[in-house]
Protein backbone atom coordinates (compact mmCIF):
# COMPACT_ATOMS: atom_id res chain seq x y z
CA UNK A 1 0.00 0.00 0.00
CA UNK A 2 0.95 3.63 -0.21
CA UNK A 3 1.37 5.93 2.78
CA UNK A 4 1.09 9.70 2.45
CA UNK A 5 3.83 11.33 4.53
CA UNK A 6 3.36 14.85 5.97
CA UNK A 7 6.03 17.45 5.28
CA UNK A 8 7.60 17.32 8.79
CA UNK A 9 8.52 13.66 8.17
CA UNK A 10 9.78 13.94 4.60
CA UNK A 11 13.33 14.43 5.86
CA UNK A 12 13.09 10.68 6.53
CA UNK A 13 11.40 9.53 3.31
CA UNK A 14 12.34 12.15 0.76
CA UNK A 15 8.99 11.38 -0.89
CA UNK A 16 5.41 12.37 -0.18
CA UNK A 17 4.01 8.95 -1.07
CA UNK A 18 5.93 5.85 0.00
CA UNK A 19 5.24 2.11 -0.17
CA UNK A 20 4.75 0.05 2.99
CA UNK A 21 3.55 -3.40 3.91
CA UNK A 22 1.62 -4.79 6.84
CA UNK A 23 -1.67 -6.31 7.93
CA UNK A 24 -2.27 -3.67 10.60
CA UNK A 25 -1.39 -0.02 11.11
CA UNK A 26 1.19 -1.13 13.69
CA UNK A 27 2.84 -3.40 11.11
CA UNK A 28 2.81 -0.67 8.48
CA UNK A 29 4.52 1.73 10.88
CA UNK A 30 7.07 -0.95 11.79
CA UNK A 31 7.74 -1.49 8.09
CA UNK A 32 8.14 2.25 7.56
CA UNK A 33 10.66 2.33 10.41
CA UNK A 34 12.65 -0.46 8.74
CA UNK A 35 12.79 1.55 5.55
CA UNK A 36 13.24 4.95 7.21
CA UNK A 37 14.88 4.42 10.62
CA UNK A 38 13.62 6.70 13.37
CA UNK A 39 10.37 7.76 11.70
CA UNK A 40 8.10 5.66 13.95
CA UNK A 41 9.32 7.19 17.23
CA UNK A 42 8.48 10.65 15.96
CA UNK A 43 4.79 9.68 15.71
CA UNK A 44 4.38 6.80 18.22
CA UNK A 45 5.74 7.00 21.76
CA UNK A 46 7.58 4.34 23.76
CA UNK A 47 4.29 3.10 25.21
CA UNK A 48 2.97 2.46 21.67
CA UNK A 49 0.58 5.39 21.91
CA UNK A 50 -0.05 7.80 19.07
CA UNK A 51 1.64 11.06 19.96
CA UNK A 52 -0.62 14.04 20.67
CA UNK A 53 -1.39 15.99 17.50
CA UNK A 54 -0.33 13.14 15.22
CA UNK A 55 -3.35 11.76 13.35
CA UNK A 56 -3.76 8.68 11.17
CA UNK A 57 -6.37 8.25 8.45
CA UNK A 58 -7.26 5.10 6.53
CA UNK A 59 -9.30 5.62 3.37
CA UNK A 60 -10.22 9.06 4.66
CA UNK A 61 -11.39 7.97 8.11
CA UNK A 62 -9.54 8.76 11.31
CA UNK A 63 -8.20 5.76 13.20
CA UNK A 64 -7.05 5.74 16.80
CA UNK A 65 -5.98 2.13 17.21
CA UNK A 66 -2.72 0.71 15.92
CA UNK A 67 -4.30 -2.74 15.61
CA UNK A 68 -6.74 -1.63 12.92
CA UNK A 69 -6.52 -4.18 10.05
CA UNK A 70 -5.32 -3.00 6.65
CA UNK A 71 -5.35 -4.45 3.17
CA UNK A 72 -3.13 -3.85 0.18
CA UNK A 73 -5.58 -1.41 -1.40
CA UNK A 74 -6.02 0.79 1.68
CA UNK A 75 -4.70 4.33 1.64
CA UNK A 76 -2.94 5.49 4.80
CA UNK A 77 -2.39 9.17 5.52
CA UNK A 78 -0.30 10.52 8.40
CA UNK A 79 -1.21 14.07 9.37
CA UNK A 80 0.32 16.54 11.78
CA UNK A 81 -2.46 18.53 13.43
CA UNK A 82 -0.65 21.87 13.39
CA UNK A 83 -1.72 24.56 15.78
CA UNK A 84 -0.26 27.43 17.72
CA UNK A 85 2.58 29.77 16.84
Amino acid sequence: MKVLIPTPLRSYTGERLVPAEGATLAEVLADLDERYPGIRFRVIDEQDRMRPHMRFFVNGRAVHDLSVPLTEVDEVVIVQALSGG
Partner: protein
Amino acid sequence: MPNKSDPTVSPSTLILVATRKGAWFVHGDATRSRWRLEGPHFLGHIVNHLVLDPRDGRNLLAAVSTGHLGPTVFRSTDLGASWKEAARPPAFAKSPDGQGRAVDHTFWLTPGHPSEPDCWYAGTSPQGLFRSEDGGDTWAPFSSINDDPDYRRWMGTVQDGTPDGPKLHSIIVDPRDPAHLYFAMSGGGVHESRDGGRTFKPLLKGLEVVEGFDVADPTFHDPHCIRLSPANPDRLYQQNHCGLYRLDRPDDNWVRIGNTMPGEVGDIGFPMVVHPRDADRVWVFPMDGQTVWPRTSPDGKPAVYGTRDGGDSWQRLDAGLPSEQAWWTVKRQAMTADAHDPVGLYFGTTSGELWMSADEGGAWTCIARHLPEIYAVEVAQPAETPGR
Protein backbone atom coordinates in the same frame (compact mmCIF):
# COMPACT_ATOMS: atom_id res chain seq x y z
CA MET B 1 38.08 23.36 30.44
CA PRO B 2 40.13 23.70 27.27
CA ASN B 3 43.87 23.86 27.51
CA LYS B 4 44.89 27.10 25.85
CA SER B 5 48.35 25.75 25.10
CA ASP B 6 46.91 22.77 23.25
CA PRO B 7 47.61 23.38 19.53
CA THR B 8 44.57 21.33 18.55
CA VAL B 9 42.25 23.80 20.25
CA SER B 10 41.01 26.75 18.24
CA PRO B 11 41.79 30.21 19.65
CA SER B 12 38.47 31.48 18.37
CA THR B 13 35.27 31.33 20.38
CA LEU B 14 32.19 29.45 19.29
CA ILE B 15 28.85 30.00 20.99
CA LEU B 16 26.08 27.44 20.50
CA VAL B 17 22.62 28.96 20.73
CA ALA B 18 19.56 26.71 21.09
CA THR B 19 16.15 28.31 20.61
CA ARG B 20 12.47 27.55 20.43
CA LYS B 21 12.71 27.59 16.62
CA GLY B 22 16.14 26.22 15.78
CA ALA B 23 19.83 26.51 16.55
CA TRP B 24 22.51 28.98 15.58
CA PHE B 25 26.30 29.07 15.86
CA VAL B 26 27.92 32.38 16.74
CA HIS B 27 31.57 32.51 15.74
CA GLY B 28 33.88 34.98 17.45
CA ASP B 29 37.41 35.96 16.52
CA ALA B 30 40.33 35.56 18.90
CA THR B 31 39.71 39.01 20.39
CA ARG B 32 35.99 38.30 20.94
CA SER B 33 35.20 41.62 19.29
CA ARG B 34 33.78 40.42 15.96
CA TRP B 35 30.99 37.87 15.74
CA ARG B 36 29.39 36.01 12.86
CA LEU B 37 26.00 34.33 13.03
CA GLU B 38 25.66 30.96 11.26
CA GLY B 39 22.39 29.13 10.87
CA PRO B 40 19.67 28.24 11.33
CA HIS B 41 20.07 24.56 11.97
CA PHE B 42 16.82 22.64 12.50
CA LEU B 43 14.68 25.64 11.59
CA GLY B 44 11.30 25.34 13.25
CA HIS B 45 12.42 22.66 15.67
CA ILE B 46 12.53 23.16 19.41
CA VAL B 47 16.18 22.83 20.38
CA ASN B 48 16.49 22.56 24.14
CA HIS B 49 20.21 21.99 24.40
CA LEU B 50 23.19 21.96 22.05
CA VAL B 51 26.49 20.72 23.48
CA LEU B 52 29.89 20.07 21.90
CA ASP B 53 31.85 17.34 23.67
CA PRO B 54 34.74 19.10 25.44
CA ARG B 55 36.61 15.79 25.54
CA ASP B 56 37.16 15.60 21.78
CA GLY B 57 35.94 18.91 20.40
CA ARG B 58 34.07 17.04 17.66
CA ASN B 59 30.94 15.23 18.82
CA LEU B 60 28.10 17.74 18.84
CA LEU B 61 24.74 16.69 20.28
CA ALA B 62 21.41 18.48 19.87
CA ALA B 63 18.28 17.69 21.89
CA VAL B 64 15.49 18.34 19.39
CA SER B 65 11.72 18.03 19.12
CA THR B 66 8.89 19.91 17.52
CA GLY B 67 5.52 20.85 18.91
CA HIS B 68 4.12 17.71 17.28
CA LEU B 69 6.82 15.18 16.41
CA GLY B 70 8.36 13.08 19.13
CA PRO B 71 11.69 13.96 20.75
CA THR B 72 15.04 12.92 19.39
CA VAL B 73 18.75 13.61 19.51
CA PHE B 74 20.85 14.59 16.53
CA ARG B 75 24.64 14.25 16.31
CA SER B 76 27.23 15.97 14.18
CA THR B 77 30.98 15.45 13.94
CA ASP B 78 31.55 18.26 11.42
CA LEU B 79 30.18 21.23 13.36
CA GLY B 80 26.72 20.98 11.92
CA ALA B 81 27.62 20.54 8.25
CA SER B 82 25.75 17.24 8.53
CA TRP B 83 23.56 15.70 11.22
CA LYS B 84 22.71 12.10 12.00
CA GLU B 85 19.77 11.10 14.18
CA ALA B 86 20.37 8.92 17.22
CA ALA B 87 19.42 5.32 16.52
CA ARG B 88 17.65 5.09 19.88
CA PRO B 89 16.78 8.44 21.50
CA PRO B 90 16.00 8.68 25.23
CA ALA B 91 12.76 6.82 25.98
CA PHE B 92 11.27 5.34 29.12
CA ALA B 93 10.93 1.60 29.52
CA LYS B 94 7.76 0.21 28.02
CA SER B 95 5.09 -0.40 30.61
CA PRO B 96 3.24 -3.73 30.37
CA ASP B 97 -0.10 -1.94 30.50
CA GLY B 98 0.90 0.74 28.02
CA GLN B 99 0.17 3.44 30.58
CA GLY B 100 3.79 4.30 31.33
CA ARG B 101 5.50 7.61 30.86
CA ALA B 102 6.70 8.90 27.50
CA VAL B 103 9.54 11.37 27.02
CA ASP B 104 8.10 14.66 25.78
CA HIS B 105 11.49 16.26 25.21
CA THR B 106 15.11 15.81 26.14
CA PHE B 107 15.96 18.92 28.08
CA TRP B 108 19.55 18.58 29.27
CA LEU B 109 22.76 17.00 27.93
CA THR B 110 25.92 16.41 29.94
CA PRO B 111 29.11 14.83 28.58
CA GLY B 112 30.45 12.09 30.83
CA HIS B 113 33.74 11.87 32.68
CA PRO B 114 36.94 12.07 30.59
CA SER B 115 37.73 8.48 31.61
CA GLU B 116 34.48 7.41 29.89
CA PRO B 117 34.93 9.12 26.53
CA ASP B 118 31.71 7.94 24.82
CA CYS B 119 29.47 8.39 27.85
CA TRP B 120 26.77 11.09 27.89
CA TYR B 121 23.90 11.77 30.27
CA ALA B 122 20.50 13.24 29.41
CA GLY B 123 17.69 14.68 31.50
CA THR B 124 14.16 14.75 30.15
CA SER B 125 10.65 16.04 30.66
CA PRO B 126 8.78 14.31 32.25
CA GLN B 127 11.66 13.92 34.65
CA GLY B 128 13.92 11.04 33.72
CA LEU B 129 17.63 10.25 33.66
CA PHE B 130 19.26 8.56 30.66
CA ARG B 131 22.76 7.53 29.61
CA SER B 132 24.49 6.79 26.33
CA GLU B 133 27.70 4.80 26.15
CA ASP B 134 28.27 5.28 22.43
CA GLY B 135 28.58 9.02 22.00
CA GLY B 136 24.85 9.69 21.96
CA ASP B 137 23.73 7.19 19.30
CA THR B 138 21.75 4.91 21.62
CA TRP B 139 20.27 5.86 24.99
CA ALA B 140 18.90 3.80 27.85
CA PRO B 141 17.21 4.65 31.15
CA PHE B 142 19.96 5.16 33.71
CA SER B 143 19.89 4.24 37.37
CA SER B 144 16.75 3.03 39.08
CA ILE B 145 15.28 6.46 39.68
CA ASN B 146 13.00 6.54 36.63
CA ASP B 147 10.89 3.74 38.12
CA ASP B 148 11.75 3.96 41.82
CA PRO B 149 8.53 4.47 43.86
CA ASP B 150 10.05 7.20 46.06
CA TYR B 151 11.55 9.07 43.12
CA ARG B 152 8.33 8.76 41.13
CA ARG B 153 6.44 10.27 44.06
CA TRP B 154 8.98 13.07 44.42
CA MET B 155 8.81 13.76 40.69
CA GLY B 156 5.06 14.28 40.94
CA THR B 157 2.89 14.46 37.85
CA VAL B 158 2.91 16.73 34.83
CA GLN B 159 0.44 18.90 36.76
CA ASP B 160 3.10 19.49 39.41
CA GLY B 161 5.57 20.94 36.95
CA THR B 162 6.06 24.08 34.94
CA PRO B 163 3.62 24.72 32.07
CA ASP B 164 5.93 23.06 29.57
CA GLY B 165 6.67 20.14 31.86
CA PRO B 166 8.88 19.32 34.86
CA LYS B 167 12.50 18.86 33.89
CA LEU B 168 15.46 16.82 35.07
CA HIS B 169 18.47 19.08 34.69
CA SER B 170 21.90 20.06 36.05
CA ILE B 171 23.44 16.59 35.63
CA ILE B 172 26.95 17.00 37.02
CA VAL B 173 29.88 14.58 36.92
CA ASP B 174 32.60 15.13 39.52
CA PRO B 175 35.76 15.74 37.44
CA ARG B 176 37.72 13.69 40.01
CA ASP B 177 35.41 10.68 40.12
CA PRO B 178 33.10 9.33 37.39
CA ALA B 179 31.04 7.54 40.03
CA HIS B 180 30.17 10.78 41.83
CA LEU B 181 27.11 12.34 40.22
CA TYR B 182 24.57 15.02 40.95
CA PHE B 183 21.30 15.95 39.27
CA ALA B 184 18.36 18.22 39.98
CA MET B 185 14.67 18.09 39.20
CA SER B 186 12.66 21.25 38.66
CA GLY B 187 10.08 19.58 40.86
CA GLY B 188 11.83 17.12 43.14
CA GLY B 189 15.07 18.48 44.58
CA VAL B 190 18.81 17.87 44.27
CA HIS B 191 20.23 14.34 44.37
CA GLU B 192 23.65 12.75 44.68
CA SER B 193 25.18 9.37 43.85
CA ARG B 194 28.57 8.12 44.94
CA ASP B 195 28.25 4.71 43.32
CA GLY B 196 28.09 5.55 39.64
CA GLY B 197 24.34 6.10 39.65
CA ARG B 198 23.40 2.76 41.18
CA THR B 199 21.74 4.67 43.98
CA PHE B 200 20.92 8.33 44.56
CA LYS B 201 19.82 10.16 47.66
CA PRO B 202 18.42 13.66 48.22
CA LEU B 203 20.77 16.51 49.10
CA LEU B 204 18.41 19.09 50.54
CA LYS B 205 19.58 20.16 53.99
CA GLY B 206 19.47 23.94 54.45
CA LEU B 207 17.27 24.59 51.40
CA GLU B 208 13.99 26.43 51.84
CA VAL B 209 10.64 25.63 50.24
CA VAL B 210 7.52 27.64 49.58
CA GLU B 211 5.73 28.57 52.81
CA GLY B 212 3.35 25.94 54.11
CA PHE B 213 5.07 22.89 52.64
CA ASP B 214 7.20 20.20 54.25
CA VAL B 215 10.87 21.06 53.82
CA ALA B 216 11.80 17.41 54.40
CA ASP B 217 9.86 16.20 51.34
CA PRO B 218 11.92 16.39 48.11
CA THR B 219 8.80 16.90 46.03
CA PHE B 220 8.48 20.47 47.32
CA HIS B 221 12.04 21.46 46.36
CA ASP B 222 12.40 23.38 43.11
CA PRO B 223 16.05 23.76 42.10
CA HIS B 224 16.49 25.89 38.98
CA CYS B 225 20.21 25.42 38.28
CA ILE B 226 23.12 23.67 40.00
CA ARG B 227 26.75 24.43 39.10
CA LEU B 228 29.96 22.83 40.31
CA SER B 229 33.06 24.98 40.55
CA PRO B 230 35.72 23.78 38.09
CA ALA B 231 38.35 25.36 40.35
CA ASN B 232 37.08 23.59 43.45
CA PRO B 233 34.87 20.57 42.72
CA ASP B 234 33.94 20.40 46.40
CA ARG B 235 31.94 23.60 45.95
CA LEU B 236 28.45 23.69 44.45
CA TYR B 237 26.21 26.66 43.83
CA GLN B 238 22.47 26.58 43.37
CA GLN B 239 19.86 28.96 42.01
CA ASN B 240 16.63 27.73 43.53
CA HIS B 241 12.98 28.77 43.37
CA CYS B 242 13.60 29.90 46.95
CA GLY B 243 16.91 31.72 46.64
CA LEU B 244 20.64 31.35 46.03
CA TYR B 245 22.73 28.76 47.88
CA ARG B 246 26.30 27.47 48.24
CA LEU B 247 27.43 24.05 49.41
CA ASP B 248 30.98 23.11 50.42
CA ARG B 249 31.50 19.36 50.58
CA PRO B 250 31.87 17.17 52.49
CA ASP B 251 29.31 19.24 54.36
CA ASP B 252 25.78 18.54 53.19
CA ASN B 253 24.20 21.77 54.39
CA TRP B 254 23.31 24.34 51.73
CA VAL B 255 23.92 27.93 52.90
CA ARG B 256 21.70 30.68 51.53
CA ILE B 257 23.89 33.34 49.93
CA GLY B 258 21.14 35.37 48.29
CA ASN B 259 20.07 37.29 51.34
CA THR B 260 22.86 39.77 50.62
CA MET B 261 21.28 40.69 47.27
CA PRO B 262 19.46 44.06 47.15
CA GLY B 263 15.98 43.64 48.58
CA GLU B 264 14.28 45.23 45.57
CA VAL B 265 15.97 42.71 43.25
CA GLY B 266 15.82 39.58 45.36
CA ASP B 267 17.61 36.30 44.78
CA ILE B 268 15.22 34.52 42.45
CA GLY B 269 16.28 33.61 38.93
CA PHE B 270 17.18 30.70 36.73
CA PRO B 271 20.76 30.66 35.38
CA MET B 272 23.99 30.58 37.34
CA VAL B 273 27.59 30.69 36.09
CA VAL B 274 30.78 29.89 38.03
CA HIS B 275 34.19 31.30 37.17
CA PRO B 276 36.37 28.60 35.55
CA ARG B 277 39.37 29.36 37.79
CA ASP B 278 38.01 31.09 40.90
CA ALA B 279 35.55 29.24 43.11
CA ASP B 280 34.45 32.44 44.85
CA ARG B 281 33.24 34.13 41.68
CA VAL B 282 29.70 33.53 40.45
CA TRP B 283 27.25 35.36 38.22
CA VAL B 284 23.45 35.20 38.28
CA PHE B 285 20.60 36.87 36.42
CA PRO B 286 17.82 37.82 38.85
CA MET B 287 14.20 37.93 37.76
CA ASP B 288 10.95 39.15 39.24
CA GLY B 289 9.60 36.34 41.44
CA GLN B 290 6.97 38.36 43.26
CA THR B 291 3.16 38.11 43.26
CA VAL B 292 2.20 36.15 40.13
CA TRP B 293 5.86 35.54 39.20
CA PRO B 294 6.20 37.75 36.11
CA ARG B 295 9.60 36.15 35.47
CA THR B 296 10.89 39.32 33.82
CA SER B 297 13.86 41.47 34.68
CA PRO B 298 13.01 43.20 37.97
CA ASP B 299 11.37 46.57 37.19
CA GLY B 300 12.22 46.08 33.51
CA LYS B 301 15.88 46.82 34.23
CA PRO B 302 17.96 43.75 33.36
CA ALA B 303 21.21 43.17 35.21
CA VAL B 304 23.70 40.45 35.96
CA TYR B 305 24.84 40.26 39.56
CA GLY B 306 28.26 38.93 40.42
CA THR B 307 30.04 37.96 43.61
CA ARG B 308 33.78 37.79 44.25
CA ASP B 309 33.51 36.30 47.73
CA GLY B 310 31.34 33.24 47.37
CA GLY B 311 28.11 35.13 47.87
CA ASP B 312 28.95 37.27 50.89
CA SER B 313 28.38 40.34 48.71
CA TRP B 314 27.01 41.02 45.21
CA GLN B 315 27.72 43.70 42.63
CA ARG B 316 25.28 44.88 39.96
CA LEU B 317 26.76 44.49 36.45
CA ASP B 318 24.53 46.28 33.95
CA ALA B 319 26.80 48.55 31.90
CA GLY B 320 25.60 48.40 28.31
CA LEU B 321 22.32 46.68 29.12
CA PRO B 322 18.99 48.53 28.63
CA SER B 323 18.33 50.89 31.52
CA GLU B 324 14.54 50.65 31.40
CA GLN B 325 11.53 49.00 29.74
CA ALA B 326 13.33 45.72 28.99
CA TRP B 327 11.12 42.90 30.16
CA TRP B 328 13.03 39.86 29.04
CA THR B 329 14.75 37.31 31.20
CA VAL B 330 17.28 34.48 30.85
CA LYS B 331 16.47 30.77 31.13
CA ARG B 332 18.43 28.25 33.18
CA GLN B 333 20.64 26.95 30.35
CA ALA B 334 21.00 30.30 28.61
CA MET B 335 23.97 31.79 30.47
CA THR B 336 27.54 30.59 30.37
CA ALA B 337 31.22 31.52 30.48
CA ASP B 338 34.25 30.85 28.32
CA ALA B 339 37.70 29.95 29.68
CA HIS B 340 39.59 32.99 28.40
CA ASP B 341 41.40 35.43 30.65
CA PRO B 342 39.55 37.66 31.32
CA VAL B 343 36.55 35.37 31.27
CA GLY B 344 33.88 36.05 28.68
CA LEU B 345 30.27 35.84 29.81
CA TYR B 346 27.31 35.14 27.51
CA PHE B 347 23.57 35.07 27.96
CA GLY B 348 20.61 34.64 25.63
CA THR B 349 17.27 36.24 26.33
CA THR B 350 13.66 35.20 26.04
CA SER B 351 13.40 37.99 23.45
CA GLY B 352 16.02 36.41 21.20
CA GLU B 353 19.06 38.56 21.92
CA LEU B 354 22.55 37.23 22.66
CA TRP B 355 24.66 39.41 24.94
CA MET B 356 28.32 39.04 25.88
CA SER B 357 30.88 40.62 28.12
CA ALA B 358 34.59 40.23 27.38
CA ASP B 359 35.58 41.59 30.79
CA GLU B 360 33.78 39.36 33.29
CA GLY B 361 30.60 41.41 33.36
CA GLY B 362 32.14 44.89 33.37
CA ALA B 363 30.41 45.88 30.11
CA TRP B 364 27.86 44.14 27.92
CA THR B 365 27.40 44.08 24.14
CA CYS B 366 24.54 42.60 22.15
CA ILE B 367 26.14 40.31 19.54
CA ALA B 368 22.98 38.84 17.99
CA ARG B 369 19.34 39.87 17.98
CA HIS B 370 16.01 38.95 16.39
CA LEU B 371 16.48 35.26 17.12
CA PRO B 372 13.62 33.13 18.49
CA GLU B 373 13.30 32.73 22.26
CA ILE B 374 16.66 31.46 23.45
CA TYR B 375 16.63 28.28 25.51
CA ALA B 376 20.33 27.47 25.91
CA VAL B 377 23.74 29.04 25.35
CA GLU B 378 26.93 27.01 25.51
CA VAL B 379 30.56 27.79 24.74
CA ALA B 380 32.26 25.26 22.48
CA GLN B 381 35.92 24.62 21.80
CA PRO B 382 36.09 22.76 18.50
CA ALA B 383 39.15 20.71 17.68
CA GLU B 384 41.01 22.19 14.75
CA THR B 385 40.16 20.50 11.48
CA PRO B 386 42.79 20.67 8.73
CA GLY B 387 41.61 22.98 6.00
CA ARG B 388 38.90 24.63 8.01
